[in-house]
């Protein structure tokens, strides 16, 4: 069946008529203007970060600097220690993803294939947490993390990241969709459950994991409230978003805008390079 991917509401016939053309041109103009508006804040930050502070304070609209001040970016790298905060962000992201994917995979596989006695109760208990967004209980969660001594430790971020009922549900649905015969065959060969999971189920699930890793990376890069609470006083452990917010007022505005630009580049690059997977994630329902 041909679907409407290669056409819209307008047909190629419509586009040959004047009114069809007018509609089409209006659409193009609208979308181009909107695209410019959408990326404008980023362009503003990029170019303002290349100005001198005097030039930035000048009134009137002058989007582009007379002479680009590339040394602003050098200042950002030296004084704000960008490599360090980027490394911290990666440490947090990798730890969170490892925890989340390992724990969720084991749980999902068990619920889908091993089905130990009582699995239904656990399943319902997992799924109940989808109904209550985490923001509704972050105060007692914070108290638990304090009492467990996880404040100012990356474990305070890594361990709670293992709690994600949606990922468990997604993986369980996937493992449910695999034919039982696949697993029986491996079992007859004498493979242990862990072995079957590793060499039969996981390879088939690769596309899902790629999507989960990309969205997980973008999510870690974006998260602010929880790292800010957990790593409150450990400034040398702060990820990008917390460190960026801490800059306020101690640096001139042009330097700060340069820093904002630098902080936005890695996730933008990842999104642009992996847009194919992000869209596939959308069809799996991950976003």
């Amino acid at each position: 069946m041909q679907n409407s991917w290669d056409r819209g509401i307008l047909t190629s016939m419509d586009l040959r008529r004047t009114e069809g053309r007018i509609i089409y041109i209006c659409i193009v103009i609208f979308l181009v203007l909107l695209a410019f508006t959408t990326i404008f804040p980023f362009i503003f930050s990029l170019t303002a970060g290349l100005k001198t502070s005097v030039e930035y304070a000048r009134s009137g609209i002058n989007l582009f600097p007379a002479v680009p001040q590339w040394q602003n970016y050098e200042v950002v790298f030296d004084r704000i220690n960008i490599p360090r905060t980027f490394a911290n962000t990666m440490i947090i992201a990798v730890g969170e993803l490892t925890m989340q994917l390992t724990v969720s995979t084991l749980a999902a596989y068990s619920l889908s294939r091993l089905k130990p006695r009582g699995w239904r109760v656990i399943m319902v208990a997992f799924m109940a947490t989808i109904m209550i967004p985490g923001i509704a209980y972050f105060v007692p969660l914070y108290v638990n993390v304090v009492r467990l001594g996880l404040i100012n430790s990356y474990f305070g971020l890594w361990l709670p990241a293992g709690v994600n009922a949606f990922v468990i549900l997604l993986l369980k649905n996937f493992y449910d969709s695999l034919p039982q015969e696949l697993f029986d065959a491996a079992k007859i060969d004498g493979a242990s459950p862990l072995r079957i999971l590793w060499s039969v189920a996981l390879p088939l699930a690769r596309p899902i994991y790629i999507v989960l890793i990309i969205t997980g990376f973008l999510g870690s890069w974006n998260s602010y409230l929880w790292p800010m609470l957990v790593l409150r006083t450990a400034t040398d452990m702060h990820p990008v978003s917390v460190a960026i917010q801490g800059l306020t007022q101690s640096f001139p505005i042009n330097i700060r805008l340069a820093a904002y630009t630098v902080a936005a580049i890695p996730p933008l690059l990842v999104a642009i390079l992996t847009q194919r997977y992000l869209r596939r994630g959308l069809s799996l329902g991950i976003h």
Binding site: S110, P116, V139, V143, N144, I168, L182, H287
Partner: protein
């Protein structure tokens, strides 16, 4: 996360065929003996154990504990004591309580006005493009991957009252400059603009995926009947998007009940509490005043509101799926 549940069934068929290819036929009809059933229980529970421990510590226990805290005077160091309904009495006596929920409702209404139809319009337009479809799809999505804090700090400079670029542009057009973040009549609107900017691209992607599911035959049939493009839009395209619209509307409401970052970074709830949201109020009670019991009473209220919206969401989602099948 809730949004993620919309369409996750779709991946199944494609995966199923991959698996089928690797299928070995010799093992049909294996029966498990009692012994292996027992072994499987042990393996199954061992596999579940890490998740159960983490869910207990970081989800189930805090959810229950939050309700208990709301009846207590909570001390991180020292003795926590039961105080009955006093936290709830203090919460209801606080004029800020009514104000935060009023703000949440106003945020929701403004956000629906600005942000509900716009992704539909944009998606329909992008779907009409004969070239550069992929470019537009990507560009609109980009704001949602920039870390929220970074976006907000950039927007603060754009909205800046003295020589911010937005006021400079107004000056050029001969309009008076505005106090975007300091004027109580304007500030909610200013924040919703940022939220819409950051979020509409994701919704555009969701709507685009649905638009591409419309079979071309449907359009062709309507063309034979002589329907002009606007009639096609009104009678074919929009009805097709209807179920998705309901779902995204509920998710938008759910999101607006949880607004935190924008007022926290840009206005700290001001001016005169006009951007104080339920979550920001919880945050200040817990982490500025260390009044965890009071914060928990607020949290329980929020939890109930979110739970009701979630239940509506799942009910609607289920009804949609039943209609589809």
């Amino acid at each position: 996360v809730l949004g993620s549940l919309i369409t996750f069934g779709k991946g199944k068929d494609f995966m199923g065929t991959v698996a089928q290819k690797r299928l070995r036929t010799r093992s049909l009809g294996v029966r498990l003996s009692k012994d292996t059933r027992w072994q499987r229980d042990i393996a199954g529970w061992l596999f579940l154990l890490p998740a159960v421990i983490l869910f207990f510590l970081f989800a189930w226990h805090p959810i229950v504990q939050g309700v208990i805290y709301s009846f207590q005077n909570v001390k991180l160091q020292g003795e926590t004591t039961w105080i009955g309904l006093r936290n709830y009495e203090r919460m209801l006596a606080d004029p800020v309580f009514g104000q935060t929920w009023l703000n949440a409702i106003q945020f929701t209404l403004i956000s629906i006005t600005i942000g509900f139809l716009s992704p539909i319009i944009v998606a329909v337009c992008v779907n009409e493009m004969r070239v550069a479809k992929g470019f537009f799809r990507l560009v609109y999505f980009l704001p949602s991957v920039i870390p929220g804090v970074v976006s907000l700090l950039i927007w603060r400079e754009i909205y800046s009252a003295n020589n911010g670029i937005l006021n400079e542009a107004l000056k050029l057009l001969g309009a008076p400059p505005q106090l975007w973040l300091q004027n109580p009549a304007l500030v909610k609107f200013s924040l919703v603009i940022i939220m819409t900017w950051g979020g509409f691209g994701g919704s555009v992607l969701v709507y685009l995926a649905a638009l591409q599911d419309i079979p071309a035959e449907l359009y062709e049939a309507s063309e034979i009947d002589g329907a002009d493009p606007f009639a096609r839009l009104w009678y074919m395209t929009l009805p097709h998007l209807r179920p998705l619209m309901t779902v995204l509307l509920i998710l938008q409401i759910l999101g607006m009940m949880q607004v935190f970052m924008e007022p926290y970074i840009l206005t700290n709830g001001g001016p005169v509490n006009s951007t104080m949201t339920p979550v920001l109020a919880i945050y200040t009670r817990a982490f500025t005043n260390a009044d965890y019991g009071l914060a928990s009473a607020w949290s329980v209220t929020l939890m109930l509101v979110l739970l009701v919206i979630s239940i509506v969401y799942f009910a609607v989602n289920r009804a949609n799926e039943r209609k589809r099948s």
